[in-house]
């Protein structure tokens, strides 16, 4: 695992509760907001299971700690997206909270149901970007969620020991977390 320069983290007093919200104007229309919420809730919960940080969705975008939106091409942060595949998403280090996904991708909730060869699993990318929001940089461990690449039609959502070690070094361990729970994995590769 690796960190951003200066090892930034969310520094508020315990219990740490980070709020997140979705942009009203920058979403995708072929996935319902209800389903999007479910996916992100699952992605946030994976991290919350291993560190003493919880995440709560709120309505008000501007006041949320983590602000999530889908954007095309140049969207004003100096890091334009590039159309289909290429760059899928990016997020900023603590305590910035910006979390941007490329609206040009074919985002998928269930790869079994989406036939596109360029479909990208939304939950996998969400889980990866939350790692950045928390302060993890890219890992050189291929199996880790924080590895920078993700093939189309691939699901990689389960945190690996490398991810857990990295984030727990920043925030400590969730008292309810057991490493043995990492052994059960439902990651799949080139599904479909």
């Amino acid at each position: 695992y690796a960190y951003f320069y200066g090892k930034p983290r969310w520094t508020r007093q315990a219990p740490v509760i980070l709020t997140y919200a979705f942009s009203q104007n920058n979403m995708i229309d072929y996935i319902s907001i209800k389903d999007t919420r479910k996916v992100f809730k699952r992605a946030f919960s994976r991290w919350a299971q291993v560190i003493p940080v919880s995440f709560m969705e709120i309505e008000e975008y501007s006041s949320a700690d983590i602000r999530i939106g889908f954007y095309h091409r140049d969207h004003g942060d100096g890091k334009p997206f590039d159309g289909v595949l290429g760059i899928l998403a990016h997020a900023f280090s603590p305590e910035n909270g910006r979390f941007h996904l490329d609206a040009s991708e074919t985002w998928a909730l269930d790869l079994e149901k989406i036939k596109s060869r360029v479909a990208v699993d939304l939950e996998s990318v969400a889980t990866h970007e939350i790692g950045h929001v928390l302060g993890l940089a890219h890992s050189s461990v291929k199996e880790a969620v924080m590895y920078p690449s993700l093939s189309p039609r691939t699901k990689k959502v389960d945190l690996k020991i490398d991810d857990v070690d990295g984030v727990q070094a920043l925030y400590g361990s969730n008292p309810n977390f057991k490493f043995s729970s990492l052994l059960a994995s439902d990651n799949s590769f080139n599904k479909g």
Binding site: G6, L85, G86, F92, R117, V118, A137
Partner: protein
Amino acid sequence: RIKPEPSSTVTTVDSYNATTWHDFTRFLDVGKGSQVSGMSELKKYFNRFGYLPIPDTNNFTDTFDTQFESVVLAYQTNLGLPETGKLDFDTISMIVLPRCGVSDTKTHDTRFQARKR
């Protein structure tokens, strides 16, 4: 060596043909000392992900020089690839994959480290 069936080859190529970095496959096995038109675009790729600073001239060249070899090596080290310093199959295959836009290194790209205002 057994060749893959033509139908499966066509399918694989087809799926990535129109994607952002597919064109980089033509640099497969290009080595140090070579000059290949368009290699500056590959250097921009490495610049974008934190491996290569913008040169003083403000333009990347198409030359595979010693500095670029060390960039390729750093990329391979960072991503757990065989460390050859060459644009080998494993390296090119990784380059063309979709990925996160956040820089891989701590040094050259600080824009994702903005402070909350």
